[in-house]
């Protein structure tokens, strides 16, 4: 157990902290590299738009912005102040919806993004791996070959275009799915069965986009991994020993290939999350992506900043959790 903690757990915790450190440092540096003063640019934009703000709230906004970017004091002092505020969980008020805190708005949007994202990632991972393994074990199967070609064809295309095509085809030309949103206007979100059904129908297309784009990658990854394993001696031996094909495939081949795929899943989370944001923009799905879109249109720096920080921490935590469950799948780590 001590070896496990020293050899496995501590390096993972260090990596977890490094991800957060690198990510937050990048978000800290970016506003300082910008050629314009973000605070003044922001304030003058609010005034130019003629928003009905009295001098007092403009002053408090300027203070909030200076505080948000941590622009008072020297660089080192600024950097520590920045961390201090983060650790207190204070990301400042949203500028477009002053003075609602950014964290509150992100908190409201998060469940929508998470529910679709997690479901889609799990579905595409499981099916991609399953079909990938089958396809390399039964290379002559026609149906599997068709699936492979389709999966590979969708894979390189940006999320935005895949989402757009699905939306046009399945909500516009063949209107079997709702056009946008997570529920129709006038319905209040609740935990009732009826609402669940509505939500499911609305989130089906967004989830399908993520599944379609993700599927091909897992498929091809699994296929190349298993094609190496199939020629291993122990698989040949299992075959000559007359074990059932099903058993060989599940216990001898797939089990061994799953580990790198699990690592791959952790590595790809950031990219998939970015894809989910774009998918939401297309489908008008009220998650973090739509929040981002609205913030971009209204120049809401503090909101974008908050979203960036939350997503960095969120992805880092997800990767860390995956590292923690990894030993369950890999006995070598457990019994080291």
């Amino acid at each position: 157990m001590r070896r496990f903690i020293l050899r496995y757990l501590i390096p993972r915790i260090i990596q977890f902290l490094t991800i957060i450190f690198v990510g937050i440092t990048v978000t800290f540096i970016i506003p300082r590299l910008a050629p314009t003063d973000p605070v003044e640019a922001q304030v003058s934009m609010m005034i130019a738009r003629g928003s009905s703000l009295d001098p007092q709230s403009i002053a408090s906004m300027r203070a909030a912005l200076t505080d948000l970017y941590g622009l008072s004091g020297g660089p080192v002092q600024q950097y520590f102040a920045f961390w201090g505020r983060l650790l207190r969980g204070d990301l400042g008020p949203s500028l477009a919806n002053f003075p609602t805190p950014v964290s509150e708005m992100i908190g409201q949007a998060m469940p929508y993004t998470l529910s679709v994202l997690v479901t889609a990632v799990i579905i595409s991972w499981i099916f991609g791996n399953l079909f990938g393994a089958l396809s390399s074990y039964y290379p002559k199967n026609k149906a599997l070959n068709v699936i492979e070609v389709l999966g590979q064809a969708v894979r390189p295309i940006p999320y935005y275009i895949v989402a757009l095509v699905l939306l046009v085809v399945f909500a516009f030309f063949i209107p079997i799915f709702p056009f946008s949103g997570a529920y129709p206007v006038g319905i209040k979100p609740s935990w009732s069965l009826e609402f669940m059904w509505i939500y499911l129908k609305h989130s089906a297309l967004p989830a399908a986009t993520l599944v379609l784009v993700g599927f091909g990658g897992w498929f091809i990854g699994m296929k190349s991994l298993t094609s190496n394993i199939i020629s291993e001696d122990y698989v040949v031996y299992a075959e000559t020993a007359g074990l059932k094909e099903n058993k060989i495939l599940r216990h001898y081949i797939m089990r061994n290939a799953l580990l790198p795929q699990l690592t791959g899943l952790a590595m790809s989370l950031g990219t998939v999350f970015s894809g989910a944001l774009i998918m939401e923009v297309v489908f008008g799905f009220p998650g973090i992506g739509s929040l981002t879109m609205a913030a971009v249109f209204r120049n809401d720096y503090s909101m974008i900043m908050g979203i960036a920080i939350y997503s960095i921490i969120g992805v880092a935590v997800a990767v860390f959790l995956m590292d923690l469950i990894y030993p369950l799948f890999d006995p070598r780590v457990r019994y080291q």
Binding site: P156, V168, Y301, I304
Partner: protein, 285 residues
């Protein structure tokens, strides 16, 4: 070089398909130099005409011929892809070679930062950057920014190659001949790594062109310059779907699909060719 091309064309169906798709893209890029219309001018042709013989992809609500406009868009998107790839390749090669050759604590620190960049959700960070630089953004600048973020995955790949090259006897010979570490990696190791660098270049182009589409759709790039992303942005701005001008969305989506599929299949095929084991399987040798 030509032998490689001939082999690939003869033995790999995917490569043939990629070749056709990319040839179409190159033709479009070349046509942009003889375009009868200036992409910056609007209302040069009738508005909202569906695809016809005269206007292959139709015309948009700004009175532009979509086909000729898209020739510029493809050219600019490809330019962005190549620029980004060059910048990020330089960083990836330097980081990968150094980390792999030096090893030790430097390797651990570099790879730790590297892995963080792999995992980080880049889109929110790029959006933040795009928002701050909104009015100053141009295609070249965007390429530089993407280049600064697009290296980590490939740096790791290059490092893993160098780790095995380091153990070969020629490295030891070089060390004992008194060549300095930097020149060993550049002169001795880089040539072995180059095929992978080439393959990742294509993959990186896919990534950066896709990222441009994403950022442009959000309105965070230079919106006046034609590119695959700005094509979709303007179509959205004018509510092309609601106005039933579907070809305004369909045309850039089609061109983008051809480009992405072409590049991807090209990448997949080259990648298999580089690995001698899969190459033999490919050629039935």
């Amino acid at each position: 070089m030509f032998r490689v091309l001939r082999d690939l064309l003869r033995y790999d169906g995917r490569f043939r398909f990629a070749f056709i798709l990319l040839a179409a893209v190159v033709v479009m890029v070349l046509l942009s130099f003889v375009s009868p219309y200036d992409p910056k001018k609007s209302f040069a042709v009738p508005m909202d005409m569906p695809p016809s013989l005269e206007h292959i992809f139709g015309t948009n609500s700004r009175g532009q011929d979509l086909f000729w406009w898209l020739t510029f868009a493809v050219r600019n998107s490809l330019f962005l892809g190549v620029m980004t790839a060059i910048i990020s390749r330089v960083i990836a090669v330097l980081v990968g070679l150094t980390a792999g050759y030096r090893g030790g604590w430097l390797d651990r620190v570099l790879m730790s930062i590297n892995d963080s960049f792999v995992v980080l959700p880049l889109l929110p960070i790029l959006i933040l950057l795009g928002l701050l630089l909104r009015d100053r953004m141009n295609l070249f600048f965007l390429a530089v920014i993407l280049g600064l973020f697009g290296w980590p995955f490939d740096a790791r790949l290059i490092r893993s190659q160098v780790l095995s090259l380091k153990e070969r006897s020629f490295t030891r010979t070089a060390v004992h001949s008194g060549i300095n570490g930097f020149w060993i990696t550049i002169n001795e190791h880089l040539p072995f790594v180059l095929p992978i660098v080439f393959a990742t270049t294509i993959n990186n182009m896919l990534w950066s062109i896709g990222m441009e589409v994403t950022l442009s759709v959000l309105g965070l790039s230079d919106l006046i310059t034609p590119s695959l992303g700005t094509a979709l942005y303007w179509a959205n701005q004018h509510g092309a779907l609601v106005a039933r001008v579907w070809w305004w969305i369909a045309a850039p989506a089609l061109v983008a699909t051809v480009l992405f599929l072409g590049l991807y299949l090209f990448f997949a095929s080259i990648n298999e060719y580089i690995d001698p084991r899969t190459r033999l399987r490919l050629m039935g040798g």
